[in-house]
Amino acid sequence: MTVQTRWCIPCLGRNRQSRFQATLALTFIPLLLPFALAGALLAQQRQPDLSELSLEDLLKVRIISAAKKEQDLLQTPAAVYVISAEEIRRSGVTTLPDALRLAPGVEVAQLSSDTWAVSIRGFNAVYANKLLVLIDGRSVYSSVFSGVLWNEHDLMLDDVERIEVIRGPGASVWGANAVNGVINIITKPAHETQGGLLTLAGGSYDRGVGQARYGGSNGRNLDYRVYGKYLNRNSLGGIPGRYEGSGWDMTRGGFRTDWTPATHDSLTAEGSIYGGQTGQIAYQIVPPTALVGPAPLVDSKGGDLLLRWKHILAGGSEMSWQGYYARAGRGNFIAGQNENSLDLDFQHHLPLSLRQDFIWGGSFRTTAVHSHTVDFARVTIDPDVRLQLFSLFLQDEVAIVPQKLWLTAGSKFEHNDYTGWELQPSLRLLWKFRPRQALWAAVSRAARTPSVYETSVRLPMPAPPNFPFAGTLLGNPNLESESLLAYEMGYRVQPAKRIWLDATTFYNCYRRLVSESASLLPLPGPLPQLLLKMSNEVRGQTYGGELSASYTVSTLWNLQGSYSLLGGGWGAGPGDRNAISTFVVGQAPRHQFQIRSGLTPLTGLDFDTNLFYVSGWPAYPVPSLTRMDSRVGWKANPHLQLDFVVQNALQPRHTEFLSSVFGGDTELVKRAVFGKITLQF
């Protein structure tokens, strides 16, 4: 399991030293900030009266749209893929993790009917801890166990406008835990979901999914929608002799309101509540190990409320304030937890001149976590934790050569209760050397902060099969952040109007990965006791790249494909030769390949086929997999749409993931067939 590697040469900064340096930097920032503000205010010149301008002059005015437009991909110095609403619809997927398979380089593996391991550029696990996920600007990454519980976010996919998938660090803007990637799920503004929508789906696996939505408006500047969703899913069948498996049952309701009282101001309010049963307790009490075992169903319930106000100042700068409250509770009679977070965020976007675009912002988040376990489970975790996070970020984009060469420099300065200040800078360069061709390169640092679980857990583990020790896993309150120094490069080209190519490559250098330092304890008992204490003794490096292409053959036929490669190694650092990395290094397949075809042979008739290939996993005995999903859709009239979908058409069942070397098998993913009726009125 432990692979020895040569250490990456240019990893910067030593632990203690860098923390001191960060503190130093932080004392300078407040001194510098007033100057930046002064600059910002100077830029707020009086707006000329546009109605006095001639037609010709009006044509020259550059606009700032309240709804921030998608940045031209050719001008983005990062590895980004945007999954559109159309792609989600045509893929026939019913869950967010399955939708993420559409983006190049995203590793998605299903473990049970409601559990997925999702990561980017490696380190995949049920609680993949280096991927930050946001829904409309609200983080759904849990600070309790460093990961995302996908079964708590079964959004109404028809309301998703796009999913922005950023491969590589996004920490200089998004902050800690945006280490290997960021996933931004963005829902449609309320004016795009007007009228009524009713969908009913059912099949061999999804027993029943019903969705209802109604959108209305005041006919002028306020739009809203309300929706409800019910989902009931079969178990995948469990693991014969060990675990009978469990289904997924979830009810969700929510709303979104967008109000534009004036052209300078836009307000959004959105919220949701959910409740249901999931089958995950074993994963929840021991996240990184993710042992599968017979466990009682978990009751999940929670909700969120978010308010956002965007205001455009004279002079064209944009300010945005956002606040949200989110609550998530999950548990059964053995164990459970409640998380409550309040987050406030401020951002100011200043287009300083034609050549400079400056953004700065700050945020504050407080999270209270209450956890409980019954005595016989023998697991303990800090029962009451209150965490505070505050941060500041700056980013400046300078056009060194107008329309050709841009430099983006920025950093996040973030303080958390476990490791203090984290400095997460990034430097990006983009060279658009031809009108439809661009090269970019980036160097960035990102940190993954310790979780409540990693700092406080005490977990006795029974001796797993074929393993001669019983063990105890111990959290460590003195854990440091895991750190990444990433080097990336990319090339984009549109050689013809209908062809689009995107290539990226990266080299990631990780330090202080959380690992377990093992020592044997001569304790009384039938078996020797292995004490596994969490520490930061593992280093690693990964490399690879992604290649994606899209080709619009005709207005009736669209083809897309991608390939991604991932390699790397890790091992104990010089400090502790006993460190083992079995738990830390969730892996990922070396090769992934996909090809997707979307055909519209007749008006209203879609025929879509997606083929995915995933190679075997280097460390776990997960074989390679070829998966095919197909959909036939027919829009009978403007009000009625019928869909028929086959997932995993090629084989009756297959393995996508192994939970851990100790935990053994996971459930097999089955072929699924379902139909869907959509009514619009």
Binding site: A25, S51, L55, T263, D396
Partner: protein, 182 residues
């Protein structure tokens, strides 16, 4: 580290010495100014005004993305002696007395219904949807590289007895709905 602080300081310094602003404005402020400008370069047939003191109406149908901007733009202004009035409408039936009608972004079906109700009336229809001209609209806003441009369906305007000045046509992209751009 000291170097990083230096870089940050330099960035801030750069930010402060920002060059003079290029004109920038919110999208609908620009569009409102265009609506007023269009009024100056279009000639309405005389029955469009019931009397010399009748106001010139710029109307917005459906979603109103302007807020108070349009009202502020036209306040105190007049077009050949007619004071300009801006108003918001809930249905196309109310549009009869309008001179300029802005139809905000909407689905083709709603737009078509709205435009069909105005058939034959001397109303300059302005939109911002991809199909707007094909559906019978006269002027359509398009966004190009952060700037607002507009395209004109001259045939539709003439059918409604509106005369568009050559100055307007010179800066617009003319679209022949029957066959692509000229």
């Amino acid at each position: 580290m000291a170097r990083r602080i230096l870089i940050a300081a330099c960035l801030l310094a750069l930010a402060m010495t920002a060059a003079a602003q290029s004109p920038r404005a919110p999208e609908y402020q620009v569009k409102a100014a265009f609506l007023y400008n269009f009024a100056k370069f279009v000639e309405w047939p005389s029955p469009a005004f019931p009397g010399s003191s009748a106001p010139f109406r710029i109307c917005v149908l459906g979603r109103d993305p302007f807020g108070d901007v349009l009202t502020n733009v036209v306040q105190g202004k007049s077009i050949s002696g007619h004071a300009i009035l801006s108003m918001h409408l809930q249905s196309p039936a109310e549009a009869r007395s309008c001179h300029v009608l802005f139809l905000s972004q909407s689905d083709p079906e709603t737009l078509k219904q709205g435009l069909d109700r105005l058939r034959g009336l001397p109303i300059l229809t302005v939109g911002e949807s991809a199909d707007f001209l094909a559906l019978g609209g006269m002027i359509n806003f398009v966004l190009e590289e952060d700037r607002v441009r507009f395209e004109i369906n001259l045939e539709a305007a003439e059918r409604h007895r509106l005369k568009l000045s050559s100055k307007l046509l010179a800066v617009a992209r003319l679209v022949n709905v029957g066959g692509g751009a000229n």
